[in-house]
Amino acid sequence: MQTKKVKNTLKQIFWHAVIIATVIVFLYPFLYMVLTSLKPFADIVASGANIFPKRITFDNYIHTADAVPLLRVIANSFMVATLTMTVKMITSVLGAYALTFLPNKYSNKVFYFFIITMFVPFSVIMLPNYLTLAKLSLLDTIVGVSLPQFADASAIFRLRQSMRLVPKSLIEAARLDKVPHMTCLTKIVMPLIKSSIASQCIFMFVNCWNEYVWPMLILRNQEMMTITLAMKKFSGSEGSTGWGTSMALATISVALPLVLYLIAQKQIISSFMSSGIKE
């Protein structure tokens, strides 16, 4: 009995160690980025594997603010992400409501159509979309970055998952009282799934904030640069000044997703944990 207990404790310790090692590996790049951004220029090149700064300085941030129109860059990213999130949420909520509460013989077909769009890689459609936006003269505009992202099958899919948990009888009762569908949506369904909507909003915002490829193709004008594009400008340039600046910019860009994650962590995690489970 005693040996079995010891064996069990040892096993527990072993698996905790495996998981903690994984956690360290995954946090290391993040910590390295933050701590490097606080190192003086000379330290950055010389420090090797040593993650901790000998002296903390904000020189890199000051230099970044000189080298990049920082507020403008952040504002651009913010506008793109807000616009995309807002419209995407509207199209997704409407679509998910129709699929959940107005089912008819076409619902399944429409649903499969949406799922298929999920499997078309972005790079397959980037050239035609670029040409479409050029035709609409939307290159170098915020709307141009957002427009192709206004519909999102995975968002519809996840919202539908939450809406299905709303009792159908609730909507049916309201409908018998002649409450219009739009009122059912805004007054019954949305309040009931508001935490799921909030976490989806955060996820949409963060995804768009993080976007690199599409803004790179659409935004060529320096004035329109988003934060991910600004970062790239300084990466790879040898010498500590470039490294310091790109680490500072990277840290700034991670700050917002980090704060949002700390606020809505539980919601985001539970919404993704259920996303792979089939009905």
Binding site: F30, A98, V124, P148, A151, K178, V254, F272, S275
Partner: protein, 321 residues
């Protein structure tokens, strides 16, 4: 609150009055109205999908049969020449190979590994699961471009932290990004950093769904944890696993772009160039829209083969259970 109640009451009375007016809506009429609303509510999403997903795919088909430099007003019809050139081109064949190498690495690092780790988090440790999972998911919310830039720094040949650590074990300096195979590895690591947490949550969700009674019963019969994984957890989570596999494959194809662009631009001597990156180069560097479109359609075909296989396999598993 009271005001709301009152308003509701008033609304109800109004409706009752309307009912008395005998505005009887027949079932058929309601059905038609619901159908109209269904179409109306779905149309914004459908319109965006048609314009920015379906039309581009079809336009690619058109472009792939033409020669066009994206500036000239005329597109020259060339039949299947773009495809012929593609398959005769050694660089293209190499890029397909690189794509599969990269996907192969990713399947180990972001499919197999998080699968086992999720099992360990649920069944091999007693507590701490929630803390671990929220920390491990965090990198999934960080931009791929941040990942690429930080990994570029970590994997520097001279003075890079990874090389410095390897030096403790007597490993000689590696020029990670100047050598094809190691550069592919670093690109895959960036994608792993981004997707690991996301896949882990999907697996965790599925493993937690496995009925505990089954596992308890197996434990009573002294089945090893290893056996429980293979005989109970794996079969019962296989449909989620298939889903995660397809997602890893398709998203992996997309996620390779940013790190390739930032870390190597496809070099050295094209050794890290992959399907997705060749589309970009053909479209935006050499302005061969036909070649870009043909490559895009080959990529799409590969994804569709995987999706179809997935559906077939899933059905089989579904019936087998």
């Amino acid at each position: 609150m009271a005001e709301k109640e009152l308003r509701k009451q008033a609304q109800k009375e109004e409706r009752a009055a309307a009912k008395k007016e005998k505005k009887i809506v027949t079932k058929a009429m309601r059905k038609r109205r619901d159908g109209l609303l269904f179409a109306l509510l779905l149309s914004p999403a459908i319109i965006f999908f048609v314009v920015f997903v379906i039309y581009p795919v079809l336009y690619n088909v058109y472009l792939s049969f033409h020669e066009w430099n994206m500036v000239s007003p005329n597109k020259k019809f060339v039949g299947i020449k773009n495809y012929e050139n593609l398959f005769k081109d050694g660089e293209f064949i190499q890029s397909v190979g690189t794509t599969f190498k990269y996907i192969g690495i990713c399947l180990i690092t972001i499919f197999v590994f998080p699968y086992f780790l999720s099992y360990a988090m649920v069944h091999l440790i007693d507590k701490g699961q929630e803390t671990y999972r929220s920390v491990l998911f965090f990198p999934s919310l960080i931009s791929l471009s941040v990942g690429a830039i930080v990994f570029q720094f970590l994997f520097r040949g001279i003075g890079g932290p990874i090389n410095a650590m390897l030096a403790w074990f007597g490993v000689e300096k590696i020029s990670w990004l100047n050598d094809g195979p190691t550069a592919i590895l670093v690109i895959a690591f960036v994608a792993t950093w981004k997707t690991f947490g996301y896949n882990m949550l999907i697996f965790l969700g599925a493993i937690l769904e496995v009925p505990t009674e089954l596992i308890e019963a197996a434990k009573l019969e002294n089945a090893s944890k290893w056996k429980i994984f293979w005989r109970i957890v794996l079969p019962l989570t296989s449909s989620t696993a298939f889903y995660a596999f397809v997602i890893t494959f398709t998203y992996g194809l997309g996620q390779v772009f940013t790190p390739t662009n930032i870390l190597t631009s496809g070099g050295p001597t094209n050794s890290t160039s992959n399907l997705v990156y060749t589309i970009y180069e053909a479209a935006f560097f050499t302005f061969q829209s036909g070649r870009a479109a043909a490559t895009a359609l080959v990529t799409l075909a590969i994804v569709m083969v995987v999706v179809v296989l997935y559906q077939a396999l899933e059905k089989k598993v579904h019936y087998a259970n």
